[in-house]
């Protein structure tokens, strides 16, 4: 999953300027160029992440899905750089959206810190729909339900996994 967002495209601003989520160029940007979403191959939906002496399951419940169409895409990162660039998730997957809540379970996750990004591609067009200013028109979310507006940082969204863990992520 690739939610393209350079470091200054989405900042934790407050309500009005939440507006401004994206980097505006001098000329009107094409929305799709700002929030292009790239499908990654499904590596795993429920299955073993890795074999480890200290492995745990993550049960992820995704709620507040407002449209029962399209696909929910999620990806999991174990370091800040890959989280930012979205280049090398440790695992990524997708689920068809048929209910307001979706559960995904990951098995045998090695102990460590992880951050999760989600995006609801409600119209299955392969990218996050945005408005003229690049603001998302489709749902997205982060582990820890981090951030108030725009992408949350790795620091805010990371969770430590040492044992079987249940988390709830609310899509915005």
């Amino acid at each position: 999953m690739h939610l393209k967002s350079t470091s200054n495209t989405f900042q934790a601003l407050s309500t009005f300027t939440r507006i401004c989520a994206t980097k505006l160029s001098n000329r009107l940007p094409k929305a799709s160029s700002l929030y292009r979403f790239r499908y990654l191959p499904i590596m795993l939906i429920t299955g073993s992440l890795a074999q480890s002496a200290q492995a745990a399951d993550i049960e992820m419940e995704i709620e507040n899905i407002t449209k029962l169409t399209g696909t929910l895409l999620w990806s999991i990162f174990d370091n800040e750089n890959s989280y930012k660039t979205e280049s090398t998730p440790v695992v990524a997957g997708r689920s068809r959206v048929t209910s307001k809540t979706i559960k995904v379970t990951l098995h045998d996750v090695p102990s460590g810190y992880y951050a999760i990004k989600l995006f609801h591609d409600a119209n299955d067009n392969g990218e996050m729909d945005t408005n003229l200013l690049g603001l998302p028109q489709e749902g997205y979310g982060f582990s820890n339900n981090a951030g108030s507006f725009g992408p949350a940082s790795f620091k805010d969204s990371k969770i430590e996994i040492t044992e079987d863990t249940q988390i709830t992520i609310r899509l915005r």
Binding site: L13, S14, T15, T17, S148
Partner: protein, 505 residues
């Protein structure tokens, strides 16, 4: 750059004597309806005596007749619509800034039968979600909500609480951070968001669209983000067709609320209240006393930037009308010394605290010489907010209406209706006395085509009796006092802006 401050008119308001029937209406009701809650509130030294003006309401308001005194001119038959922050509290959590409560449309229907009122909340997505949840879910522009949810985009926090204006047979309930909402003029039901184009959903659209002499609509959308501030300009045909939209990047993100429209130009003021990183919208703005503000002059034909003119640091919520004469552009602005009213005064009001509110807004006249790139600035009036005019003539030099503070009664609220001649600065006033808080006045034509000839209608709150009313004065004869007043046993929260739609249209 040349800019001068010349005080051409510093006329102090003459405090006019009320007409006898006004005394009867206000004084009589005051004697009967003193409120014990208000009495106890008044004994609290930190609570403003007009705290009832910010209690808010919690449900739609059914039709209620007002008691009318005086004669309502036939020209005033129609509906006065107003919008304003109304839902201040849910589940024990209260907003702490006047920007934040959800908007409610108030309709005062005026006919030969009298005047009746009803009110209805704008059903924004935010309102509906919070109504379902039974609590606030999102932070406000100036309020922190415990356990708030992150936002997907601007419209998650859209409260549609700032203005209500007619467009294409419907009403638009306007905010400034996101989409406008369509409202049914009769039932006040919310009909959905007004999407000018798919990719404009949730893009800021100011609460002060202006209409030219062809009834085309023009507007700005301000994006004062610290790193990439921008301004969106809109030109919308009277049929609702989006003629042009343009985004301009700005050098800094000054707060912008309204703009100026002339026959050939759209002028925006990039104020010296500049956005920096901050937790909430209002917190972000810092007054930069050493940073000149910018008048950005755009060509209406293609929405391109023609010139940027630096002016002394300015903070303006509202502009009057504008005209062009002998190669110059002239407009008026209700200008504050700084951003303290927005940052602190509006928070104190919402928290029902005593002043100071820092709401001193003087009426200034800007005269722009585009060739020289200069602006001369004169002060026309010491105190005037909510400038209004005969909107049939948006580009003509004409008198301005507004509300004024009660000079000589510091830390009070506006109780005076004012009319100012933009050339001489000569003023007329009517002062309702300190129990009354007056709200934005509307000009109503007497049916003739004579500019400025007609009536001035406004709402008011008598905070002592906790009764909201409407009053009608004759334009140009404010000293005579109201020709009609009407009150109801209902206390509405103070609102922001509205419009009058004549029954004869």
């Amino acid at each position: 750059m040349q800019s001068t401050h010349t005080n051409t008119a510093t006329l102090k308001p003459k405090i006019m004597k009320r007409r006898d029937f006004t005394k009867t209406l206000l004084g009589g009701s005051a004697a009967i309806l003193l409120n014990p809650v208000l009495t106890s509130a008044s004994s609290n030294t930190s609570t403003a005596p007009w705290s009832v003006a910010f209690n808010g309401v919690t449900a739609d308001l059914a039709e209620l007749d007002l008691t009318v005194q005086g004669d309502i001119p036939e020209a005033c038959y129609g509906t006065l619509y107003r919008n304003g922050p109304a839902l201040f509290e849910r589940e024990g959590q209260r907003y702490s800034h006047w920007f934040d409560p959800d908007g409610m449309i108030q309709a005062f229907q005026i006919s030969e039968k009298g005047i009746s009122h009803h009110g209805r909340f704008v059903r924004t997505e935010k309102f509906k979600r919070e109504e379902d949840a039974g609590r606030f879910l999102f932070d406000g522009a100036g309020s922190k909500i415990e356990g708030s949810f992150p936002s997907r985009n601007n419209d998650d926090g859209n409260v549609a609480n700032t203005n209500i204006q007619p467009f294409q047979g419907e009403l638009l309930a306007l905010w400034e951070g996101g989409s406008a909402h369509r409202v049914d003029p009769d039932t006040l039901e919310t009909l959905g968001k007004k999407d000018w184009r798919d990719d404009l959903r949730g893009v800021p659209f100011s609460a002060h669209p202006r209409f030219d002499d062809r009834s085309d609509m023009w507007n700005i959308g301000s994006l004062p983000m610290p790193d990439n501030p921008a301004l969106v300009l809109y030109h919308i045909g009277k049929g609702g067709d989006l003629k042009k939209v343009q985004v301009h990047r700005l050098g800094f993100g000054g707060y912008q609320h309204d703009f100026v429209l002339t026959p050939n130009y759209l002028i925006a003021l990039n104020s010296s209240a500049v956005a920096h990183h901050g937790e909430r919208f209002v917190d972000m703005f810092q007054w930069e006393a050493d940073r000149p503000s910018q008048l950005m002059v755009f060509d209406k034909n293609n929405l391109s930037l023609v010139k940027t003119i630096e002016v002394p640091p300015a903070f303006v919520f509202h502009f009057g009308n504008a005209w062009e004469s002998r190669g110059k552009i002239i407009f008026t602005a209700s200008q504050y010394k700084d951003a303290q009213f927005m940052k602190h005064g509006m928070a104190r009001l919402a928290k029902q605290q005593k002043g100071p509110y820092h709401q001193e807004s003087a009426l200034l006249r800007y005269t722009i010489d585009l060739n020289k790139g200069t602006a001369e600035i004169d002060k026309l009036s010491e105190s005037l907010e909510f400038p209004g005019f005969d909107r049939r003539y948006p580009f003509a030099e004409q008198s301005l209406l507004g509300i004024s503070e009660s000079l000589g009664r510091p830390r009070s609220m506006q109780s005076i209706i004012t009319q100012v001649n933009p050339e001489s600065g000569q003023e007329q006033h009517y002062d309702y006395g300190e129990d009354i808080i007056v709200e934005e006045p509307q000009f109503i034509s007497d049916g003739s085509s004579v500019m400025g000839r007609g009536f001035i209608m406004h709402t008011y709150l008598n905070y002592k009796t906790e009764r909201t009313g409407t009053a009608i004065l004759k334009s140009g004869a404010l000293a005579d006092g109201p020709v009609a007043m009407a009150e109801m046993d209902r206390c509405l929260p103070l609102g922001f802006h509205g419009c009058f739609l004549s029954a004869s249209n």
